[in-house]
């Protein structure tokens, strides 16, 4: 099958690769670019485990074709920690035991990051709405909601 070139920024780094034509962004990231942080759960848009940020917007990488991301800026959970220091959302998830099996966590964190990027001081309802496309079968959601609210508070303390 034909391979086509795609070029985009992944977690701040320019990447240019050849991918199979029509391949999803999820598979391009995982199988070609070595970023296995987005997870393939349902491949149907239903679980949110594959969520990544494309040009500032949360997207389901399982339903996005890699070729439609030409020139885009893509963020995944793999790019969040900086020089060995976890992102506040990652720290809050770890500290709050908001991950058990961890399968949903990268997608959940990207959904939460999109929220905090646009709404630095979210309400509980904002958080519930923001993660409403992400399924977690382990935690019962409450620890995740609390972790996102805690990360928002720690961000705003830093900013203040």
């Amino acid at each position: 099958m034909a391979r086509v070139p795609v070029q985009f920024t992944l977690n701040g780094q320019e990447r240019a690769e050849f991918v199979e034509s029509g391949v999803t962004l999820l598979h391009a990231l995982r199988d070609t670019m070595g970023d296995t942080s987005p997870k393939g759960g349902c491949q149907q848009g239903a679980c949110g485990a594959c969520s990544v940020i494309v040009d500032g917007e949360l997207r389901l990488s399982c339903l996005t074709l890699a070729e439609t991301c030409e020139g885009a800026s893509i963020e995944t959970a793999a790019g969040l920690a900086s020089e060995g220091v976890l992102h506040p959302l990652q720290r809050a998830i770890v500290d709050g035991f908001a991950a058990q099996c961890g399968f949903c966590t990268p997608g959940m964190i990207m959904a939460a990051k999109t929220l905090l990027d646009h709404t630095p001081n979210p309400t509980r309802e904002d958080v519930i709405e923001a993660i409403s496309g992400n399924i977690c079968r382990c935690t019962g959601y409450e620890p995740i909601i609390q972790a996102v609210l805690k990360a928002a508070r720690s961000n705003s303390q830093k900013a203040g």
Partner: protein, 266 residues
């Protein structure tokens, strides 16, 4: 399986490229890529267009033209379309809304197509590469996609906030699939009696349909329990609801009058 993606800057070229069997237009991909992931081998390639007009929302003299590639999130981000916000918000969760397009929603089979239910009640016009048609005609003939070419936009009189009564009934909050979706565009006279009504239903057929018997029965009624009784009694006329894992056809028929009544009285 991998499939060729053809990208065109011109709508005309994209429309022409759709002619061969198996080639499917790619909007936001939330239905079509999902079908491919699920193993739908009838789709053998994608065509997309990056024409800027497809992404544009234009509001001129009370008439809105919404490009086919405009997403639900973009509708929600446009203050001029506030009257449509409850409808756009009813589509999926926030991530789906970032991808789901207005054009794709016109083709979404039940239980999807919530935005189209709103457009049907608001008497939208569907614009395509090969001309335009009232949304009702478009929906009736939408299965013959290659003959029709691609949809470029929908246009409608901008509804003021509150003109459209809209209800999507779902079992999972906040982002469940529809049991039944109802949109009612009602105009009242000075005596608060209904002078015109356009009512559209989702999940009560394989695609959004109008409830014409109920529309007629509402004319001259006040939106009060005794007055709307006849309209509520005929709301299911001409429907052929779907059965899916969310609800049976029987259940949908049973709850439709209850929710219709609540929508009118609420």
């Amino acid at each position: 399986m991998s499939l060729a993606v053809q990208t065109y800057s011109s709508v005309r070229d994209a429309s022409d490229a759709l002619k061969p069997d198996g080639i499917c237009y790619l909007g936001g991909g939330t239905l079509v890529v999902r079908a491919v992931n699920e193993g739908d081998v009838s789709i053998t390639g994608y065509v997309r267009s990056t024409a800027p007009t497809l992404q544009t929302i234009d509001i001129t003299e009370g008439r809105a033209t919404i490009g086919a590639s405009v997403t639900m999130a973009a509708v929600l981000g446009n203050a001029g379309l506030a009257g449509l916000h409850p409808v756009a918000k009813a589509v999926g969760g926030p991530t789906v809304r970032n991808m789901a397009t207005v054009g794709g929603n016109l083709f979404a089979p039940a239980p999807y197509g919530d935005f189209t239910v709103g457009l049907l009640a608001l008497e939208a016009t569907v614009h395509g590469a090969d001309g335009e048609s009232p949304i009702e005609d478009f929906l009736a003939g939408r299965d013959d996609r290659r003959k029709r070419g691609i949809v470029t936009a929908v246009s409608l009189d901008v509804p003021s906030a509150g003109v459209l009564r809209f209800l999507k009934v779902s079992r999972v909050k906040p982002r469940g699939v529809s049991v039944v979706t109802i949109a009612a565009a009602l105009a009242l006279d000075d005596a608060n009696k209904v002078k015109s009504a356009r009512i559209a239903l989702g999940c009560m057929a394989d695609r959004p349909i109008r409830a014409q018997a109920a529309e007629q029965a509402l004319i001259g009624c006040k939106l009060e329990k005794d007055d709307i009784r006849n309209a509520v009694a005929v709301i299911g006329e001409g429907t052929n609801p779907i059965t899916d894992p969310v609800a049976s056809a029987w259940y949908r028929s049973e709850v439709l009058p209850v929710h219709f009544s609540r929508l009118l009285l609420g």
